[in-house]
């Protein structure tokens, strides 16, 4: 019995860490590129987007995991989409009601979480095959991993394009903002360079 819990704890830990680094949705799986590129001009919207995704991911993983034994294989994608769309709509309404400014900044990218591949990927690859606890841990790991990556990307872009981080000025006065970094160009270049960096690090890790 004690051994079982140990094995389970190990599995939970692995699932949690997978989303953060080994299977990081943005850097390793390259999923959810649309929000990654579109809302990372500043940290605040990136964080809001990340939290919305965590919420939707968590809810959809719970629901899918609970009904995993009832799913008909050929109707499962339909079921996933329905679940995801429901929670995205709720998240969208919530943002509109409580953070109207943020909701306006994010614009169509909140409803677009519906087609964010990370969520459907986790529903298919994890929640529909695992029990509730594993699914919840997986959702948290993936969601937090996604949020952190978005924030790193947004931090770099916001710093260079406005000289601020989280709307707090950090650069000296003489700093001239690099406007290009707040444009789509900046998103692609920063993402590309970060992907390269992550590849270098993981290659080094594998060697040792």
């Amino acid at each position: 019995m004690a051994n079982d819990t140990k094995v389970a704890a190990g599995l939970y830990k692995q699932t949690l860490l997978a989303g953060l680094w080994r299977e990081n949705p943005v850097f390793r799986l390259l999923l959810g590129m649309c929000p990654t590129l579109a809302v990372t001009a500043a940290v605040k919207p990136a964080l809001t987007m990340g939290l919305s995704v965590i919420f939707v991911l968590l809810c959809s993983n719970i629901v899918v995991s609970l009904m995993r034994n009832l799913l008909k294989p050929h109707l499962r994608i339909l079921m996933f989409t329905l679940t995801i769309a429901t929670f995205v709509t709720i998240a969208d309404l919530f943002l509109k009601a409580f953070t109207p400014v943020m909701s306006e900044t994010l614009g169509p990218y909140v409803p677009l979480i519906i087609v964010n591949c990370i969520i459907i990927c986790r529903a298919e690859a994890c929640a529909s095959k695992n029990n509730l606890i594993v699914s919840i841990i997986d959702a948290l790991g993936m969601g937090v991993g996604f949020t952190l990556t978005l924030c790193v990307l947004a931090g770099i872009r916001e710093l260079l394009s406005t000289g601020e981080i989280f709307e707090v000025p950090v650069m000296p006065d003489a700093f001239v903002p690099w406007v290009a970094m707040s444009m789509p160009v900046g998103a692609f270049i920063t993402l590309g360079l970060l992907l390269g960096l992550v590849n270098i690090i993981s290659k080094k890790k594998r060697k040792t």
Binding site: V176, P177, W178, V179, A180, M181, M183, V185, I189, G192, G196
Partner: protein, 336 residues
């Protein structure tokens, strides 16, 4: 006989022509333009050109170090990128911006693709595009040449930012389109000054004469294929002429478009970059016509006064397609 060989697709004949010797030719070709820049913009040219060259070379060296690749500085391509970038910058651009541009040009424009030969876009233009997108204001403030403004600093750089600014010839022509004043903008005196270079503009683009001398040198040395500059200039001329014929009140004379702005610099030095231009003569014609047409489209219809940079970048993007379209048929072979 050795001079008769140009960079081209197969069949090849061996010749001691290396990237290095081509690049040395290009640098020699750019000397008149650099001299004109030095004459008209004095201290600005003296600072900007070495800054760009040095930071471009340093970036290439650093990238090679990181990638653990053999040092490729010997081919001098980084030097050429630095010079071309510097010549296409406004004279009063702050030094740090020039450094960012050069680092960006070499690192993002060339090295991330795998170094010289693998880059899709002209590195110097990539750097310039990034600067334009980032520091739009600085990239569109022009300085009058020292020959007009006697107060221009000659040695000390401290009052650099105070120099008078002046609109470029292309900005006038843009204004003319809006106010239907084409005939007024174009006068012999102004045509002359775009020829000699006594106007506002980027460091190396003002003097048509210096660029023509450099271009001629490259043509005589057969470093570049005459088709490309010819195609660029011809198509730009034709499109400018069409606009001029339609409404000679609004649009300036076609020759004016050829001598002003970065058109000549582009035709001889930027578009002819062997890596990012097509290999076959037919391909070069398509490429050149495209560059000329897009440039004129931006100048005449678009919102920006100058369109050379975007034209070159856009045509760079379709170069692989052009190359595939213009495959040469080997002797005795059949077109599939």
């Amino acid at each position: 006989m050795l001079e008769n060989i140009t960079v081209s697709s197969a069949p090849h004949i061996s010749k001691p022509l290396s990237t290095r010797s081509v690049m040395i030719d290009v640098i020699i070709g750019l000397v008149p333009a650099m001299a004109a820049a030095g004459y008209y913009f004095r201290i600005y040219a003296l600072i900007l050109i070495p800054t760009c060259v040095f930071s471009a070379v340093a970036t290439e060296w650093l990238c090679n170090l990181i990638r653990k690749k053999p040092n490729s500085l010997g081919d001098l391509s980084a030097v050429v990128t630095g010079i071309i970038l510097a010549l296409s910058l406004p004279p009063s651009l702050p030094i740090w911006a020039a450094i960012i541009g050069s680092v960006f040009a070499v690192a993002i424009g060339k090295m991330v693709f795998g170094g010289l030969g693998a880059n899709v876009f002209n590195p110097a233009m990539v750097g310039r595009a990034f600067l334009t997108a980032s520091f739009g204001m600085m990239m569109t403030s022009w300085t009058v040449p020292a020959t007009i403004d006697a107060k221009m600093p000659r040695i000390a750089p401290e009052n650099m930012m105070h120099s008078r600014t002046q609109a470029t010839p292309l900005w006038w022509s843009k204004l003319a389109i809006k106010n239907k004043l084409g005939a007024d903008v174009y006068s012999n005196a102004q045509f002359e000054s775009t020829f000699t270079g006594e106007v506002g503009g980027c460091l190396g683009e003002t003097s048509a004469i210096a660029l023509l001398i450099g271009g001629l040198y490259l043509l005589i040395r057969r470093t570049i294929n005459p088709s490309l500059p010819l195609a660029v200039l011809l198509s730009a001329f034709i499109f400018a002429a069409i606009a001029y014929l339609i409404d000679s009140d609004a649009y300036v004379q076609p020759v004016f478009h050829l001598t002003s702005g970065a058109m000549l610099l582009c035709a001889f030095f930027i578009a002819t970059d062997p890596v990012t231009a097509p290999l076959t003569t037919k391909g070069m014609w398509i490429f050149g016509i495209g560059v000329g047409a897009i440039t004129m489209l931006i100048r005449i219809v678009g919102e920006y006064p100058e369109g050379v940079m975007y034209a070159v970048l856009l045509m760079n993007a379709v170069t692989p397609l052009i190359d595939r379209f213009c495959k040469l048929v080997p002797a005795g072979g059949k077109l599939k």
